[in-house]
């Protein structure tokens, strides 16, 4: 529906059962795989695709991390990987310990990141970006 009716360009056509993780959107600020969320579950929901997310300050943290690490995803998976990282940052920021001490469970983050199967980057590169973005987010929240 997002691709055909709304004309969203940031998502690829569906992967036909390969669980590619390339269709992530935010529904009421929570990341979901849009391919398995039917329209009837979305009554009154606020859907944010990458197009609108990239205009937010939240996206700046992740883009800064891309620049700082010198790595970024390929154009095909850029929207989904960015939203995936955002969903990890949201989880980390909701944990008091992670937020205050800056500690992260790298194994758990790697598992989260493996939801997207695009092979353009290896897991350690993505992990470095996520940790860097988390640091930016913590600093920004700390100054707010």
């Amino acid at each position: 529906m997002l691709i055909e009716d709304v004309g969203v360009k940031s998502m690829l056509s569906h992967c036909r059962g390969k669980a590619c993780g390339n269709c992530i959107v935010l529904v009421n600020d929570v990341a979901v795989l849009s391919c398995i969320v039917p329209a009837f579950r979305l009554k009154d929901a606020k859907i944010r695709t990458f197009e609108t997310f990239q205009r937010t300050r939240l996206c700046r943290d992740i883009e800064r991390a891309y620049r700082a690490t010198g790595n970024k995803p390929c154009p095909d998976c850029y929207p989904s990987k960015t939203l995936l990282i955002e969903s990890i940052l949201t989880e980390l920021m909701s944990s008091t310990r992670s937020r205050e001490e800056g500690t992260v469970d790298e194994k758990a983050i790697m598992q989260e990141l493996s939801l997207n199967t695009c092979p353009c980057m290896d897991a350690t590169e993505l992990l470095a970006i996520t940790i860097q973005a988390f640091e930016y987010r913590r600093r920004r929240r700390g100054t707010n």
Partner: protein
Amino acid sequence: MEPTRSPMIHQPRTLNELSLLFQRIEKPLLWAGGTYLMSKSEYYPSSSNRQIIDLAEIEELKRINRTDRYIDIGSMVNASSLLSAGKLILPSILKSALGSIIGHITRRQITIGGSVCEPESRVAFSTALSVLDAQAEIRQWEDGRFTATWIPVNRLYDKDGSLLLRNTAFVLTKIRLGLEWGDFQRFVLIDNPIRKPDTAILVAFQATRNQTALTKVRFSASFPKKAFYISPELENQLSLLSFPVHPDRVNSISYEMVHDLTNRHESITEFQAERTRRVFESFLHELNIQTLS
């Protein structure tokens, strides 16, 4: 391209409303979390005219209750809430199985009932629940009304892992777990069952250690879209062992297990069989170590 025709959607709020819908609709499609679609290649566009009943609004299916003797988990509880709500009350094997599902995003969408009722393939939940002797409350639609029965989870499937009730009108309302679990519990998932069904294996094992012997031994192995393996004979054999077991005997038992497994399930690849053997062997070595330490 011709526009896709939307099917009729119903969103009951109670089980009573659900039964009224079963009266009216022939062969409705029940919608739980939707994650089953992740493994389907041809689900969209769908030509099916079946009316859909969305179970998400039924509060009775979203509850987790604990008594002195058991835990009841509503079928629409998702993996994420089960993990956070039940961290202290769930057996470790179930926590491992829930944790093995990739990503918060998927865990928030996958429901326990939807996973147990997947028509063709057994994955993490079913494999773990089958060694915990979990029971499923099934409400079958017969003669114009629901009849509730409790069925052990491991009897819901045939040897290939297909759901036996797949052509029946029913709804799974809850899963019941007893509170007496073994003190040795292991769950191992190797490879992603959706992305790599030909190499993936899921193995669950639990037992109670009683000095040098094992009691209440349960072992289950699943191979996505191929097999669901449980063997009472193997479990009996393991109950008769006295630990520590000589490494040669561990080796021979593991080969006997694989022999039995491949005899019953020819579709399993040699690679999957060897993986299962080694995982099984590692459990026995670990039991040896624990006995000796």
